[in-house]
């Protein structure tokens, strides 16, 4: 799987900054950073990223799971969910959208890099 262009959807600006920095340092291109579902869908349409890193709980009326569902249906773009202490029911709901992986907070820098690199190798 070719992963170069990544969209980061995260409403916590510090985590957003951290993810973007780590991935840029690892050689990935961050095409945009979104905080809400609307922004995410707009940037997906505009930049057509290879991968969306999607926080499950994002600002606005639509959560990350519903947004991922829309992204998957309309654009067939791979999604990795980011979550902090979500309950099992939420994880199960997220799994139904067929994400390629989950990343749990607190996000470990090396693990984040390893996960993305391993997806490239697998692909």
């Amino acid at each position: 799987m070719k992963i170069h262009k990544i969209l980061v959807v995260e409403d916590d600006m510090i985590i957003q900054m951290f993810i973007s920095k780590v991935l840029k340092d690892a050689g990935f291109e961050i095409v945009a950073e979104a905080r809400t579902s609307d922004q995410a869908l707009q940037y997906v349409e505009k930049f057509r990223p290879d991968l969306v890193l999607m926080d499950i709980s994002i600002a606005g009326p639509i959560d990350g799971i519903e947004t991922a569902e829309m992204v998957g249906k309309k654009y067939n773009i791979a999604v990795i969910f980011i979550t902090g202490n979500s309950d099992q029911a939420t994880i199960d709901r997220a799994k139904k959208t067929n994400p390629i992986d989950f990343i749990f907070k607190p996000i470990d820098e090396n693990q984040l890099k390893r996960r993305l690199k391993s997806l490239e190798i697998k692909g």
């Binding site: 951290f18 780590v22 902090g84 202490n85 749990f104 607190p106 470990d108 820098e109 693990q111 996960r115």
Partner: protein, 302 residues
């Protein structure tokens, strides 16, 4: 409302019975005790004994007074009960508002703790040295173990206690996911039944579990090795608990004295056990690194 009218009815029925009793008594006198017996007319009787008019009217007057008093008592009872009900409603509302506020505080504390872990992640990403980075990471795990408790408190119906089985599972799963690859071979043996702990116990105990499981995943079951981490907690008498925790991994190096080590993790373990008014023993009979820990539920006197 129903309770009020029942009391009022009882009061009135009581007074009406009091009214009926003298009337019945007089009728019995009239029928059986007068010289002509049953045939003696009521009017004749009153003519012969004018005092009977007063005796006759007395029960009616008394009945009227009783009725008025009964109504009055009923009204004051209703007022009293209504006041109690209003006070109860106000108290319930106050308790509800306090619970909402407390939940909001726990939510904010959890969010703030998450911001702290994010800041640590960000700071660590500017460091190249792996050992220094790992110090940030282990601090994040500790903070996250506390954040999870605040999260569970605002999500649960019981604002005072958390279900420790659920918490332990979440904590250990999160540590495994964070510290191992997705193809890890770590099994969790969790046996925590009916253990509900308050925040003053849950936080130090969570930090203690975090330290031991972190060490187990780092040293006991290194890399992608296969292994099991254990956590069994049983409730003893009163507020005492016994916890068996550890792993079946490679075990401690013999030269390390777990009671007198320079490792922050081991020092924290001893301090946290003291905070929980407990005792820690290393169980050398089992494979790997295992501890038997007793502790008390901490009740804060405010």
């Amino acid at each position: 409302m129903k309770q009020k009218s029942v009391i009022g009815s009882f009061v009135r029925i009581g007074f009406f019975l009091g009214l009926l009793f003298p009337v019945l008594a007089m009728s019995i006198c009239l029928i059986f005790l007068t010289p002509e017996g049953y045939g003696y007319s009521l009017f004749k009787l009153h003519e012969d004994f004018p005092l009977l008019w007063i005796i006759d009217s007395a029960p009616f007057v008394l009945g009227l007074i009783s009725y008025l008093v009964g109504t009055r008592v009923n009204a004051s009872n209703s007022r009293f009960l209504s006041e109690i009900q209003d006070s109860n409603e106000q108290l319930q509302n106050l308790i509800g508002e306090k619970e909402v506020l407390l939940k909001e505080i726990h939510h904010r504390v959890k969010n703030n703790l998450q911001v702290i872990t994010s800041l640590l992640s960000l700071q660590a990403s500017f460091i190249d040295d792996e050992q220094s980075k790992s110090l940030f990471r282990y601090s994040q795990y500790r903070i996250n173990s506390m954040a999870m408790i605040h999260e569970m408190l605002y999500q649960s119906d019981d604002i005072a206690c958390i279900d420790y089985a659920l918490y332990s599972k979440k904590l250990i799963d999160a540590l495994i996911i964070s510290m191992k690859s997705s193809e890890h071979q770590v099994t969790v043996d969790l046996n925590v039944k009916d253990v509900n702990l308050n925040i003053d116990t849950a936080i130090p105990l969570g930090l203690l579990v975090n330290e031991i499981i972190t060490n187990a995943l780092k040293y006991g079951i290194p890399g992608n090795a296969k292994g099991t981490v254990y956590l069994h907690i049983t409730k003893g008498v009163y507020n005492n608990y016994v916890m068996h925790i550890g792993d079946d991994g490679v075990g401690f190096a013999d030269h390390i004295n777990f009671r007198n080590s320079n490792s922050l993790g081991l020092m924290l373990m001893h301090r946290l056990v003291l905070q929980l008014k407990g005792n820690i023993e290393k169980n050398n009979l089992m494979k790997g690194t295992n501890y038997d820990i007793s502790f008390e539920e901490i009740i804060q006197s405010s």
